[in-house]
Symmetry: D2
Subunit: 350 residues, 4 copies
């Protein structure tokens, strides 16, 4: 996305000890042939060819950088972001952090779920939770944006407007989430091997996934309760596909509220949004293939057979709107660039 962003120049790309010094196209197969065509049509040199080789983080001259996308493991991230933002000399870049380190406002909650005390509580307090559609004003002026987790992005987009409007019960939210395998990252673990994953599925981290407190924080804020108070069921599953999240969310309506009211609320919330859509047909079920490869989110609301309950279904691409796409969207907001810039890519089907 950044390669084709008209206002972005990539100054540094940091890797690991294993990848430092290597060209990007050697590590990421989609750039293997090193000759992508640039947005403006010139090829020589191609933007990929012109990319700097991978380096170590400590080799980057951050004084030459406006924005840092930080995609490091949790815990590691805190000290690096601290050092970037607190370097004494000259201007400092703004940071969009894709790790979990600055998502949870409460450092005790962080310590509980991540098993280690937070080492940058001041930055934690300052960080803006970057679910773009709900936080544009804060993102615009933020030094540090915590890019939301994949599952929490979809769950909050479906639930926050309903909770703000007091349409659903707070104590009866069940989120059954299904994700493609990219959600597990690219590290070489037996559990993510092709032959382990293909032709099978399973739940994991049942009632014990780190995205639960992140979702709960967002819903608690929507309910005006501060950073906590709402508790949800969140049960993720691994599905044999690379990309895509589908979340099926079971809610109880407040007395007198119908599933149609929930639908109307969401339609109003997202009527002007470029990336979030309530499907026009009330019977149409969101599918991950509607959005694969794009920054779009589709959702719909269905009446339950259980009286007074409703079913929300939301689909999106976990590594675009659920990760890098939303990060670019946030950068656009921070920089005052039109928000959809470099995010025009439509869904790829089949």
């Amino acid at each position: 996305m950044l390669l084709r962003h008209p206002h972005v120049e990539i100054k540094a790309l940091s890797g690991t000890e294993r990848t430092k010094g290597r060209p990007y196209g050697q590590v990421y197969p989609q750039y293997a042939f090193e000759s992508i065509i640039s947005a403006n049509g010139k090829q020589g040199p191609s933007p990929v060819r012109s990319l700097p080789p991978l380096c170590l983080t400590e080799e980057v001259d951050f004084s030459q950088v406006d924005t840092v996308f930080c995609c490091l493991p949790h815990a590691t991230t805190q000290s690096i972001v601290t050092s970037i933002l607190q370097s004494a000399v000259g201007r400092t870049p703004r940071v969009i952090d894709l790790s979990a380190d600055f998502r949870l406002a409460d450092v005790h909650t962080y310590a509980h779920w991540y098993g280690t005390p937070h080492r940058a509580p001041d930055l934690q307090a300052e960080a803006v939770y970057g679910l773009t559609e709900f936080a544009r004003a804060d993102i615009r002026s933020a030094r540090l944006v915590a890019n939301p987790g994949c599952y929490p992005t979809g769950a909050q987009l479906a639930l926050v407007p309903l909770i703000r409007a007091q349409l659903i019960a707070l104590d009866d939210v069940i989120i059954d989430a299904k994700s493609g395998v990219t959600g597990a990252g690219r590290s070489a673990k037996e559990a993510n091997l092709f032959c382990e994953v293909t032709e099978g599925m399973h739940a994991y981290a049942v009632a014990n996934h780190r995205h639960a407190p992140e979702i709960e924080q967002g819903l608690s804020r929507a309910a005006g309760l501060g950073n906590s108070g709402v508790v949800v069921n969140f049960t993720p599953h691994l599905v044999p596909m690379a990309r895509g999240i589908l979340e099926t969310i079971y809610v109880r309506c407040q007395a007198g509220v119908t599933p149609g009211d929930l639908r109307a609320c969401l339609e109003q919330a997202y009527g002007e949004e470029k990336f979030v859509h309530v499907l026009a047909d009330p019977q149409q079920v969101p599918q991950t293939r509607y959005v694969r490869g794009s920054n779009h989110v589709v959702m719909n609301v269905f009446p339950d057979r259980l009286q007074g309950r409703a079913i929300l279904v939301v689909a999106f691409d976990n590594i675009v709107k659920g990760a890098s796409g939303q990060a670019v969207q946030n950068m656009n907001v921070m920089m005052g660039i039109p928000e959809h810039t470099a995010l025009e890519q439509g869904p790829l089907f089949p």
Copy 2:
């Protein structure tokens, strides 16, 4: 399974206008080479080679047959089963019906969900619902066994013991079910094409799937309410794999009941069962790859983050225990053969 069953001889195989007269191995690729080795080691002629060619149903001499496995579309089934069981002359075979036609005891419920009045209400009343583990005595003496649907098999195996023991609330059962594509059958529909299904997932028939009343009937009976009374949320999803069902079931425990109590109840219910298993480790999550290709069912119980609630997860192969395997299991019961005969096949992984 029947080819290797020591007490079975296949007398007739009926197909369609398109397939009649063709050898079985031309229509089903796993028999393409027509030379499977028989269980007793003889090859010449192989059991597949000795199979009769596919014929039309009306060409079968049912007086020469002990058991009929009927795998026809719903509605069609009723008149054929009627004619088989009510032929005036000589002995009649017993029927195991894999369609939905005789699963719902209430003909009005049938008519509502299947859109057509039931044409064999007497047989409907007589049919035994063949979820083997719960109905052995009735199956043994039945003329007509209604083989359960795939989703209802898993849902009832997980829920019936808990409801019989009054451990969970009847009005708060949410069944989020995920199935491989074999669940959709083998007919040539655009929706089931490889390129439509691969790398994507979606819910379907939300709050409107015909397996809902079948599950509700089973749970109502377990609650002592007759054929109806319990209503559940049942939300099926299609997953890009061929075989396997995973059902994640959200329940509210009765006051004073813990998830551990649910687990103990299920362990006791299935302690002697050959095909249904509560995983020994309370933290281990059932996976469809644990049971692929076998007649086994694995389940486990987890505490929810929501107070007083629990999560059940059950996995099985939808076309074995969820269809043909359970049909053979029922035939074994009907015939007084050891129940696991021809069902010894262990899971195939990878």
Copy 3:
């Protein structure tokens, strides 16, 4: 691609009896939510929303159209293209035909392979074979461009420069080709169902595939033999993936010619091409994931263990460069638009 093409306005979209009158987004799931963001950032109305509904071909007013992309079954195509190009009144559009109908210059070869005499032999003679990289001048002035088949695109890109340079034997070319399932189209056939295709592979149309004469025509022309003379082995295989073709081509070098010579020839042929690339590392093997979703083609040359022979490997996306992407590329050439316009999309991985 056309939606985001800055010089294209879509005037009509024709469908079938089944789809006529329906919005595009109802038939193609990637447009299900009907709110793609346009290339210039305006959303209201989105380009998809502004698309005309599907109509029947006979309802299109071709006098209002500059270019027709014709994607009809073979045989059908001939009469429709004839009627479009020979309409008496006013200007006629130019046609890019994605069927096989105008690819084979020799109408007897066409009749032999397609089982029906050609009904538009004059147009056949006029049609330009649109493998862009080899035919720009002719495409520029063509009324009718026959867009190449998927397999022939890759095979000719790898072989034509080598044959022109007389580096390989003409009587010993073996093309072992592997394709994703999109190559079979979207029609509902049992053979293309998910459960038939997943977790398996096979050859098909062995020594009998219609792309063989198309490849042979291209190679014969490259050898200066006219439309025929070269005969090749062409063996296609179906692979359980949606997109992508990999062709592994076994050739015998002319006396004194080394695999390195072949490689140098191809590097020179494509040094200036935006979409065709010889991998920079002689040991790097082309993979379909290098190019998925893009119009790019990657290839490489390897020495064989058999003396005097070489192995060519070429990978591309069968439905972009192998079909619609090349069609847009041809339209750009025909219209004098920069050739890569609307084809900037890089590979999508994972």
Copy 4:
């Protein structure tokens, strides 16, 4: 397979430092629920439950063992097999080695391809190459059987009878092989992750795979040339599926020999074989789904468009006939047990 083998008792299972002490079912998901039903129908204790926990190789008392299946990495294997077979005291077990260590009779060839000198040249000389169908007499009396590699099993089954009968040219054999990902083993490497492999394919080790010399050895012997002399093209590809190998083999017939002659030769060679089959219909193309999960091999012969050439296609399950199934088949031969014992499993489709 061994669990259900009526003449086998599993005395020891060795694992790694990581897995030692753990029950088998914790490491291999198909035994996760530890309650497989035994072949004789008894469940308590199940055969899996009665399995010994994984141990280290050095903890095994080999004097209590009749047969060892050795599945260790190459090089490591040599010293362990040496110590097993040359232990001074008491009887020694017979060894079926599934590594590559004893497949190549020429230790120099071994050293060249595996990069390390052979440490057990005497055993190398003694080892019997265990392609069962071609070596029963030797296998019967062998102390050490080298179980063939997966690709070489199919290639030799297709080619050896033709070479013995002098029907094809020895200098023009091209083997284009495609394998599922299980061929790469279960080690955690980035290249085998689900998201790297799914929806893509590629060649690998082009003209440089270690199975080439193994195939060449087998063909050279068939030609009466000793262990070398024949050189082949062997080009393997990775396909996004778990199981299955398809090999498409291009050969040149000797003068006057037709593809039909090749077919007749193979039909005669395998007419009595339980596991190797020439498809009855000369036009039917072998597919991996015909044999998935079974020990069967299917093949067929097709005329090429190139004069005087033919195409062989062979399909089998790489981890059954291509590995463990053939190992059990060899054990049966060694022990004088009917050869198909415990290999009755038919293909699993879908």
